[in-house]
C-alpha cells in the first residue's frame, strides 16, 4: 500500500492518469480543476486501496476473533502507523482518526473545556489566543468554548498585508494563556504564518498549542516532532484521500487530557449499569465504528504523496502559484492577497468593480473550477478590507497551461464585467 509510485510532477500526463476525474469536458472545454483547497481529487491508488479493503477484508475492528476482523484491525492500525510516520510523529505522539479537520478541532475545543475525571483545562478567566487567519473551523469552536467556560478569546491579528508576527503574539501571552489555535496556511489567502515560532512562544508561556494543518498536509506538511505542537488536525480529502476522513495527532499526554466528545462502544474499558471507565488512547477518542476504509484510503494518500515526493510537489505548487500571482497582479484593478507568500498553493484575489461570483461563473463556462466567496474566513477578509474573493488553488496534477487558461479566463471575465 502506498509505496513508490515514482511519478514526476513535471510529467503531467503520468500524474493526471492517476486522477481519471480530470479527463472530462465542462461546457465543451477541458476541465481545469483549481479548487483543491476545498477538496483535492482522489488518486487511483487510494481508490484501489479502499476497494481492496471493501472487497476482501471488510469487518468490524477490535472486537472479533475471526479472520476478517483481524485483517480489518491490522489494516486500520497499519494506516494509523503509516500516517504517524507521514506527519513525523515521535514515540510520545498518538494519532486519532476523525471525520476531518473540523471534527478534530471540535474534539480539542470540547475536550479542553469539559470536565470529566479531572477539572477542565480551560476555566473562567483563562485566555485563548486564535489568529486572525483562521478558517471558521478553528475560530467558532473557540468562540463557543469561551462563551461556555467564561474564558477570554484574544485574536492575534495579521498586519495589513495579512502576515502574522511573533512580536504581536508576545504581548497577548500571559500566565492565564491556556491555548493558542493557529493555522499552518490560511485557506482564504494562502498566507503561511511563521507557525514554528508562534507555537514555541505560546508553549513557552504554558499554553497548549493547536495547529490546523488542513491546507499544508498535501505538500508543505510540518514535521510534528520538530514543533512545539500539542494538537495537529488535518483532513484526508485535501491530500488526495477520501472525503469524511481526517486525523487529530498530537502529544500523547495532551490527548490524554481531552474529555472525549463521543462516548460509546470501543472507547470504554469496562462498563457497569451505572458507570464506565475509558480505554487508553487512541481508542479512548474513537468511540463507535470508525471509517476503516477511509483510514486506509488516507494512509494510501500519504503513501502516494511520499511516492511522488513532497519536496517535488511543493516546488511544483509554489511555481504554479508564482505564475498565477505574477499574471494576476499585472492585470489592472486586480489585487492578489498575500502576494508575498512564496510557499503556498493558494492564490486569492479581488478585482475592482467585479464580484467574484461573476468571475467564477464565467470561468466555469470555460471549464475552470475556482472557489468564490468568503472561504469560511469572513473576519479575516473584513480585517483586510476586501470582502469576498476569487480563489484558485493548485494540486500536483495542475499545469502551467492551466494557469495560463486561468489568466486568460480572468482577463476575459474582467473585460465582460467591468
Amino acid at each position: 500500500m502506498g509505496d513508490a509510485f515514482l511519478i514526476d510532477p513535471l510529467e503531467p500526463d503520468a500524474v493526471r492518469a492517476q486522477f481519471p476525474v480530470l479527463a472530462q469536458r465542462i461546457y465543451g472545454a477541458e476541465l481545469a480543476y483549481l479548487d483543491n483547497a476545498a477538496t483535492t481529487q482522489m488518486a487511483m491508488p487510494v481508490q484501489e486501496a479502499m476497494r481492496a479493503f471493501e472487497q476482501h477484508d471488510r469487518a468490524n475492528i477490535h472486537r472479533g476473533v475471526h479472520a476478517l476482523s483481524q485483517r480489518a484491525t491490522d489494516a486500520f492500525e497499519h494506516a494509523r502507523s503509516s500516517l504517524k510516520r507521514f506527519v513525523g510523529a515521535g514515540a510520545d505522539h498518538e494519532l486519532v482518526f476523525t471525520s476531518g479537520t473540523t471534527d478534530a478541532l471540535n474534539m480539542v475545543a470540547h475536550g479542553l473545556s469539559t470536565s470529566g475525571m479531572h477539572p477542565a483545562w480551560l476555566q473562567a478567566g483563562d485566555e485563548i489566543v486564535v489568529s486572525g487567519l483562521e478558517h471558521h473551523a478553528n475560530l467558532v469552536p473557540w468562540q463557543q468554548v469561551a462563551r461556555r467556560t467564561g474564558a477570554v478569546l484574544r485574536v492575534l491579528q495579521p498586519d495589513a498585508q495579512g502576515r502574522l508576527h511573533a512580536a504581536d503574539l508576545r504581548p497577548l501571552l500571559n500566565a492565564r494563556t491556556r491555548v493558542l489555535a493557529l493555522t499552518a496556511c490560511a485557506n482564504a489567502t494562502g498566507e503561511r504564518p511563521p507557525y514554528e515560532d508562534l507555537l514555541q512562544l505560546a508553549a513557552d508561556a504554558g499554553a497548549l498549542t493547536v495547529l490546523d494543518a488542513a491546507q499544508a498536509m498535501a505538500h508543505a506538511a510540518p514535521a510534528l516532532s520538530s514543533l512545539a505542537c500539542d494538537f495537529m488536525a488535518f483532513s484526508g480529502h485535501k491530500m488526495y484521500g477520501p472525503m469524511g476522513t481526517g486525523a487529530l495527532v498530537g502529544r500523547r499526554v495532551a490527548l490524554e487530557g481531552l474529555e472525549p466528545l463521543r462516548y460509546g462502544g470501543d472507547m470504554v474499558a469496562w462498563v457497569s449499569a451505572t458507570e464506565a471507565s475509558f480505554a487508553e488512547l487512541p481508542a479512548r477518542l474513537e468511540g463507535g465504528t470508525p471509517n476503516v476504509a477511509g483510514a486506509i484510503g488516507m494512509a494510501a494518500a500519504a503513501g502516494f504523496i511520499d511516492g511522488v515526493g513532497r519536496d517535488r510537489i511543493d516546488a511544483h505548487l509554489n511555481a504554479l502559484r508564482e505564475h498565477a500571482v505574477a499574471g494576476l497582479a499585472a492585470m489592472p484593478g486586480v489585487t492578489v492577497l498575500s502576494a508575498h507568500s512564496r510557499v503556498s498553493a493558494i492564490v486569492s484575489f479581488v478585482a475592482d468593480r467585479v464580484h467574484p461570483h461573476d468571475i467564477g461563473t464565467l470561468l466555469d463556462q470555460r471549464g475552470i473550477a475556482v472557489r468564490t466567496g468568503h472561504h469560511c474566513a469572513q473576519p479575516l477578509l473584513e480585517h483586510l478590507g476586501v470582502g469576498p474573493t476569487t480563489r484558485a488553488s493548485f494540486a500536483l496534477y495542475n499545469t502551467h497551461a492551466e494557469v495560463e487558461r486561468l489568466l486568460a479566463g480572468v482577463a476575459h471575465a474582467l473585460k465582460v464585467l467591468q
Partner: protein, 157 residues
Amino acid sequence: MTSETAAELDLYQDVVMDHKRAPRHFGTLAAPTHQARGQNPQCGDDLQVALVVDNGRVSDIRFNGQGCAICIASASMMTEAVLGQEVALAQALQARFRAVLTGQMVSEEAPLGKLVSLAGVRHYPGRIKCALLGWHALMHALAAEAKSDNSALEVTP
C-alpha cells in the same frame, strides 16, 4: 476560446450589464415607510431596500449595498418595475419572477417585462439566490409594518 460562452449570452446580456454598471434608483430615502436588508453570507452580497408606500402604491423606492452583477441588475430592474405600482402588483411580479427562476413556471407563461433578461439565471442554480436577494428584501420590507425593521435576512430560493 474567443467565442462568447453560454453564460455571456444568457446571463450577462447587455441590458443586465447596463443595469449593473448604472443601477437605477440607487441610494437611500430620507423618510421611507418601509425598509429591509437582505444578506447572503456565503458571497457577501448585502442590499438594503427602502420605499415609500402611499395609498397602497409604491410611490418611491431606493436600494443600496453591494453584490454581484446579477444581484445588482436584478434589484435595479426591480425598482423600475415596481415604482408607481400597487403593492399587490409588486408582490405578484415577485412571485412570477421567483417561479420562473426556480423552474416552477416558464417565462412564456409569466409576463416579466424587462426582467425576462434575467430568466437565464434559472440555468445556474448557484446564482438564483443572487437574483432574488433584492426581491427578498422588498417582500420583507412590505411585510413589515414598522418602518424601522432593519433586521437582516438570508435569502433561500
